[in-house]
């Protein structure tokens, strides 16, 4: 299964352990201690102050009206792809509205919308290769959509029915796809960041032309796993793109209570990682930046950090009322003034690639498609009851077999106490 070319293909950029002794030469003007070898001596006692340097700039290609700022630097995406990107963003936004309401009606248990961040997700996904491996947090529906996750696949997961790849075990929005190389989402924040690093190292060992991409929010970047992952990625030179969605809030916590430095981007340099900040509402800027980051990761076999600035227009989740901690007009202002979907629409219209009529027609047909997938998924049975016990281990242990028998006995004795019919195979599905 595994070819012996592994070692041969191994990248020469892999760091090799240096065993050269480190000595402080006499009269040197810089330090040669093992921990820092390029630092000049200075007699000026001066602390490096975070306020001393200007904030890392934010890359953008077009303004809030969809007008390209530097005419010599136009988006390199053709009509067909641009329209796909637009369509995918709109699909996510409509699906979000429908599913948010359906949670409010109690038809699914939970939901998280990605309003305001569709451009970040779709723009970055469009810059990747289909075989790049993706680890995400939970607000990256646009990534899945762009990769080809179908409406049925979304709905099967949300309704936890028998066609859900996760066998109905996870909360809604915890998507995955083996085919699309989307690793399963877990609720634990930031745990996926070191996973992406390990997976990138695997790609490197295999001599793969692919990278891993890891999405996370500005709040998750405060977790220890963020620190651990970036440090390991840098020291082991792993081809991974870290993609931070900085949307200003972690549930109710604004970024000014999340960190004191210059966002998340400023930390990248400290780990020795190439870093860039981008306007997350500018899909072309996100696309270009991701494309370049991917190129660096592949060709130089090292990590890159992208911080995409945006605004979480929506509530954190269906369990959150964000007006308890932020002003409604702040949100309305963002919706009206700057929105990734509107920005791209203006761009497309100016190009003559899109019109109001086409937009209305698209929205109504998407709504219909989504509702059709919705009702297909809602009618479908849940997975068989035995799936409660499977996949804990590769094979069920003796303990698990005993516990399955125990449940079977209970179901035999008290069948009317359980909702057996909603599961595939009913009682016999155990």
């Amino acid at each position: 299964m595994y070819s012996s070319k592994l070692v041969r293909n191994f990248s020469p950029s892999m760091p090799v352990q240096q065993h050269k002794p480190v000595r402080q030469p006499p009269h040197s003007d810089s330090i040669h201690f093992p921990g820092a070898v390029k630092s000049k001596f200075t007699s000026a006692l001066q602390f490096q102050s975070p306020g001393g340097a200007p904030a890392i700039p934010t890359y953008r290609l077009m303004d809030t009206d969809g007008v390209v700022i530097d005419k010599s630097n136009v988006p390199k995406v053709g009509k067909e792809m641009a329209l796909k990107m637009y369509r995918d963003m709109v699909t996510v936004s409509i699906m979000d509205l429908i599913m948010y309401d359906s949670q409010r009606q109690g038809r699914i248990s939970f939901y998280m919308v990605s309003a305001g961040e569709e451009g970040v997700a779709v723009g970055s996904a469009a810059a990747l290769e289909p075989d790049d491996v993706i680890f995400s947090q939970y607000r990256e529906q646009g990534v899945l959509m762009y990769r080809g996750y179908t409406l049925d696949e979304f709905m099967n997961q949300l309704f936890a029915n028998k066609n859900d790849y996760g066998k109905g075990r996870n909360m809604p929005v915890h998507y995955m796809s083996e085919k699309l190389r989307l690793h399963p989402i877990s609720s634990t924040l930031a745990t996926q960041i070191p996973h992406a690093v390990g997976a990138a190292y695997a790609l490197k060992l295999n001599g793969s032309p692919n990278i891993t991409v890891c999405y996370f929010g500005d709040g998750a970047a405060s977790e220890g796993d963020f620190h651990a992952a970036l440090n390991v990625a840098a020291t082991r030179a792993c081809p991974v793109v870290f993609f931070c969605r900085n949307n200003g809030y972690a549930i109710s916590t604004p970024t000014l209570e999340q960190y004191k430095g210059d966002g998340v981007a400023s930390r990248g340099m400290g780990y020795g990682i190439d870093t860039i900040r981008v306007d997350g509402n500018d899909i072309w800027a996100v696309y270009e930046v991701t494309k370049r980051a991917r190129e660096i990761a592949v060709t130089q076999q090292k990590p890159v950090l992208i911080e995409a600035m945006s605004y979480r227009v929506s509530h954190h989740s269906t369990s959150d009322d964000s007006f308890a901690y932020r002003a409604k007009d702040e949100v309305e202002d963002w919706k009206r003034r700057d929105n990734p979907i509107t920005r791209l629409r203006k761009y497309l219209e100016a190009k003559g690639w899109w019109s109001t009529d086409e937009d209305m027609a698209l929205r109504s047909s998407l709504r219909k498609e989504i509702l059709q997938a919705f009702s297909r998924a809602e009618k479908m049975k849940r997975p068989p009851i035995k799936d409660l016990f499977m996949d804990i281990y590769e094979e069920p242990t003796e303990d698990l077999k005993e516990q399955m028998a125990e449940l079977k006995n209970i179901l035999d004795k008290y069948p009317e106490e359980y909702d057996l019919d909603s599961h595939e195979g009913g009682k016999d599905g155990l």
Partner: protein, 408 residues
């Protein structure tokens, strides 16, 4: 943690450079006395130093080693054996895994130069620094990285330098490694099953709070993880190979570090696997069952000599070997035969493995039990430097537990 870690480093360097480990661990009667430890009182009868060279639980000859019925037939018939201590057997197994599986990688803190306990000696030279390498000092990073590597189909063999320091990685082990396959609906390409986390565990005589812990009880509550604690070199090699090459489940592989140099036996040179999830009956008896694992099986062996001689009974000794999932059938069969049962482990009593064993035995053997299940365990304290000998289960405590159980 910085201060604790710094002390840890000092401790490790001491063990390594001053070679205190073998002497401190051999516990032989002739050992030199050191400033911090006095020779035992001369009138001791029970708590004498364990003589590993005389233990029947270790194979001191090639013939004994190859007589092990759990070894595959071809290994028993044709292989040779080599005298190895515990860390050498671990090293031997790791080399065999890397040899056979090109996708296998070993990494952790200080593993490249051979590891602070010498378990990874020469592996980086032999298999390359891309497969055996140091990581930054971050337990959560090591395990998170390992899960990602494993989820791409590689065999990940991370090391946590001391079990005491696994807690920063507990989230990764419990919420990620243990649940990856389950939450992925059993998807073949999304499992953390190709993962074996090695960690030295248990008391060493002077490890105090952070070089002595036995945290297997925490793991025994993690659905989806397997937990293995081998008692000697033969077991360590066979179980490590099974952990890496058998069923694709994440395995916590705990190595009692006091045995690294002390436990020496003839180990088959060919690769072989021993079963995970199966206990081993080390000695048959009919009046009392003693259940233990790791270092404590040697304490139990010594105690059994006194119990049998002074109380005129025969004792059955079981090594659980696997803490999760543990072998309830073997234990049940034994206790239903003897009617009496003691569980011995050095971890604290509350939340320890003994709780689970005692409750299962009570449930499964209720009609045959002639005495309450007795637990001889560490106390519900931390492991303080100067008091370790009072805290650990020892021959006197096991003897006393047996006496009470037999006279109940």
């Amino acid at each position: 943690m910085p201060v604790g870690r710094r002390l840890g480093v000092l401790f490790r360097q001491q063990l390594h450079h001053h070679n205190l480990l073998p002497r401190a661990f051999s516990l032989s009667p002739s050992r030199q006395s050191r400033a911090y430890s006095r020779p035992p009182p001369s009138n001791r009868k029970l708590n004498l130093p364990i003589d590993f060279n005389a233990s029947c639980l270790l194979a001191h000859s090639s013939a004994t080693a190859l007589a092990n019925p759990e070894l595959p037939g071809d290994v028993r018939a044709s292989t040779t054996t080599k005298k190895m201590n515990y860390f050498q057997a671990v090293n031997d197994a790791l080399a065999a895994i890397l040899e056979e599986d090109e996708r296998a990688c070993i990494f952790g803190e200080d593993v490249a130069f051979g590891g602070v306990f010498r378990c990874t000696t020469s592996l980086s030279d032999r298999f390359g620094s891309q497969r055996v390498f140091n990581t930054p000092l971050t337990e959560q990073g090591i395990i998170g990285f390992a899960i990602g590597l494993a989820a791409q189909g590689h065999t990940a063999l991370p090391e946590i330098q001391f079990a005491d320091y696994m807690f920063p990685a507990f989230d990764q082990l419990h919420n990620e490694a243990s649940k990856y396959r389950y939450r992925a609906g059993g998807a073949k390409s999304f499992t953390s099953g190709h993962l074996v986390v090695r960690m030295p565990t248990g008391a060493v005589g002077h490890g105090a709070l952070y070089h002595s812990q036995s945290p297997e009880g925490f793991f025994s509550g993690c659905q989806g993880l397997k937990v293995v604690i081998p008692r000697g070199p033969i077991q360590a090699k066979g179980l490590l190979l099974e952990a890496a090459q058998g069923a694709h489940d994440p395995v916590i592989f705990m190595e009692p570090k006091i045995l690294y140099r002390a436990a020496v036996e003839q180990v088959p040179t060919a690769p072989y696997r021993l079963p995970i999830g199966k206990a081993e009956i080390l000695k048959e008896g009919k009046d009392l069952t003693i259940i233990s694992y790791g270092t404590m099986v040697y304490i139990c062996e010594a105690a059994i000599k006194h119990i049998e001689k002074e109380l005129g009974v025969t004792v059955e000794l079981i090594d659980l070997r696997t803490i999760r999932p543990w072998d309830k059938k073997t234990v049940e069969g034994s206790v239903n035969k003897t009617g009496r049962c003691i569980v011995v482990h050095e971890a604290s009593r509350t939340g320890g493995v003994g709780e689970g064993v005692a409750s299962e035995v009570a449930e499964r053997c209720f009609l045959r039990l002639e005495a309450p299940v007795c637990r001889v365990t560490g106390f519900d304290t931390h492991v303080p430097l100067a008091f370790e000998s009072f805290l650990m289960p020892d021959v006197a405590k096991v003897f006393d537990g047996a006496k009470k159980t037999l006279e109940y």
